[in-house]
Symmetry: C2
Subunit: 257 residues, 2 copies
DNA sequence: TAAATGTTGTTATCATAATAACAACAAGTG
DNA sequence: CACTTGTTGTTATTATGATAACAACATTTA
C-alpha cells in the first residue's frame, strides 16, 4: 500500500531521456533502481523505485526482453542490470537501425515522387527553428552562382556562415553588411560594417538576436528573424516580388547613414 | 468523411520505424504523404495519407515544431517536407543527445551504488537474447586468466568467438570441443572435433541451433541454449556447484565415443 | 503439529493520459 | 451562393499507470 514515492528531480529528467530511447516511465524507474541495488528482488526494486510491486514484474519482464536485465533462477528471483554503457548502446543501436531503414525507404519514396514543376518559385515558406534554418540557409548559399548579398545581425552562426561563404566558387561576388568583423577580410568578400538603424536598435521589448537577409543570385531570398527566447523564424522564397522587396531593403541599408 | 484508407504495407512498416524516432502514427503518415506530394495543401495531405482532415492541422503543426516541414504563407497554406536525409538525421541526433545524457547519469548512479559483496557467486543468472548473451560471453572470456573450456555447437558467432579467444593472454590454455573446424588451429588452442552424441542429435522437435558450454578458470560457467525460432537463453553462474556440474558435462563430452 | 503471519508471484480490475477519429461550425474564397 | 479551409469540441481507442485480491509457499509462534 505504497504511494508512488516522489523520485529525485534528477531521476525524472533521466526518465525523460530514457523515454526517447523507447522505455516507459516504469521501465526507466525500475532500471535506475536496479542500478542502485544490483541483484535486488522484486520487492526491493519496488521499494527503491516507488513502482507498485505488482507492476514491477511485467516491467522486469519487458526489460528482460529488451536485454537490459538478467534474472536469477532462485526463489525469490533476483535481477541484475546490464551495465549502463552496454544498455544504452543496445537501445540506441536499435533506434539507429530503424533510422537507417526509414531513411532508405523515405528516400525511395521521395525520389519517386513527382516533384512539382513550378517548385518553390511562387510561394513564401516559413521555416521554424534554428537548426532547420541553418540547414536551409547553408543549402541555399551552397547553390550560389553569381552573387550573394547579406545583411547580417546574428551573433550566432557567424563562424559557420563565413566558412561556407569561403567555400564558394571564386566568381561569386559577396557583399555583407554587418555590425562588426573580426580578422582579415578575404578578397572575394566585400564587408561593410554598419550599426543597425535606430528604428531597429531601440526595440527594447523583444530581445532581438537575429535580423538577417540573404539574397542569392537576385533570385532567392531568405530572411531570418527572432530571438533566443521566442525561437527563430525564417522566410524563404524565390518569388520575384519577395526578392525585389528585400533587395530594396538591402539597398536601403547599404545607403543609410 | 473518409474512413482511414488502409496504407500500403510498406508504409505501415515505415511508420513503425519512425515511431521509434519519436513520431506518432499520424506524424509519420503525414510526413510520408508530404514526400509523395510536396507543396500539398492540408486537404491533399489528408487524401493521400488517409489521416482525418481535422487531424492534419495539429499534426503538421507538430511536424513544423520538429523541423520536418515548412509552411507557406499562402491561403490555403501549403506544406513542404524537409528532405529525408536531413529529417532523419535531425530526429536521430536528438535521440543520440538524450542517449549520451542518460549514459553519463546512469553511469554515475551505477558507480555510486554499493555493489553487493558476494557478487554473482552464488546465483544462477538467466540471460535472454542473442546480443545480450554475446556481450556477456565475450566479457567473461576476456577476463580469462588460466584456462578456457568450451563445448561449442552454435553456427552463429563462431568467427567473433575465435577472434576473441586469440586476443587472450598466451598463458591461457584453451580447449574446444566442437563439430567442425575450418582453417589452421593456433598453437594456443586445442581443438577436438566431435559430432554431438545421439541423444542430442536426434532431438527432432526443437530445431536446436545452439548448445554450448563455456567454463573459465574453473570458476565461472556459461551455458547457451535455444534456437533461432524460440530465441536463445543462457545461464551464467560462478557458483561452485554449477561449475562442477558443467565441468562433469565437459568431461563426459571429452571422453565420449 | 496447527494456526498465524508474512512473502512472492500472478491475475484481474480500474484510472489516466495520449493518441486517433469524427462531427460540427465559422471564416474565407471564388 | 457553393465550396473549401481552418478551427473547435467531443467521442473512441489504446497504452500505460495504479490498485486490489489471491493462491502458493515459507516462516514464525503457540
Amino acid at each position: 500500500m505504497y504511494l508512488m514515492a516522489e523520485p529525485a528531480a534528477q531521476t525524472v529528467a533521466l526518465a525523460e531521456s530514457l523515454k526517447s530511447l523507447g522505455l516507459t516511465k516504469y521501465e526507466a524507474l525500475v532500471y535506475i533502481a536496479l542500478l542502485q541495488a544490483s541483484e535486488a528482488t522484486a520487492t526491493e526494486i519496488h521499494e527503491i523505485s516507488g513502482v507498485p510491486r505488482a507492476s514491477v514484474y511485467p516491467v522486469l519482464e519487458r526489460l528482460s526482453q529488451k536485454q537490459l536485465v538478467s534474472v536469477s533462477n532462485t526463489s525469490p528471483r533476483r535481477f541484475n542490470p546490464e551495465r549502463p554503457d552496454d544498455a544504452i548502446e543496445s537501445l540506441l543501436s536499435s533506434v539507429e537501425h530503424d533510422a537507417a531503414r526509414a531513411k532508405t525507404t523515405l528516400n525511395r519514396i521521395y525520389s519517386q515522387s513527382v516533384r512539382r514543376a513550378r517548385g518553390d518559385q511562387e510561394l513564401i515558406w516559413s521555416i521554424h527553428g534554428g537548426d532547420h534554418i541553418r540547414l536551409r540557409l547553408l543549402e541555399m548559399l551552397q547553390a550560389a552562382d553569381e552573387n550573394v548579398r547579406i545583411i547580417f545581425y546574428w551573433d550566432h552562426l557567424k563562424g559557420e556562415l563565413v566558412e561556407r561563404l569561403l567555400s564558394l566558387k571564386k566568381e561569386v561576388k559577396i557583399d555583407i553588411i554587418t555590425d562588426g568583423w573580426s580578422g582579415p577580410v578575404p578578397g572575394q568578400i566585400n564587408v561593410l560594417v554598419k550599426a543597425p538603424p535606430m528604428e531597429i536598435q531601440k526595440e527594447p521589448v523583444t530581445n532581438w538576436q537575429a535580423g538577417c537577409v540573404f539574397i542569392v543570385d537576385k533570385k532567392k531570398a531568405m530572411v531570418v528573424m527572432g530571438s533566443k527566447d521566442e525561437g527563430f523564424t525564417a522566410l524563404y522564397s524565390e518569388s520575384v516580388g519577395f526578392v525585389r522587396f528585400f533587395t530594396m531593403y538591402w539597398n536601403f541599408f547599404l545607403n543609410w547613414g
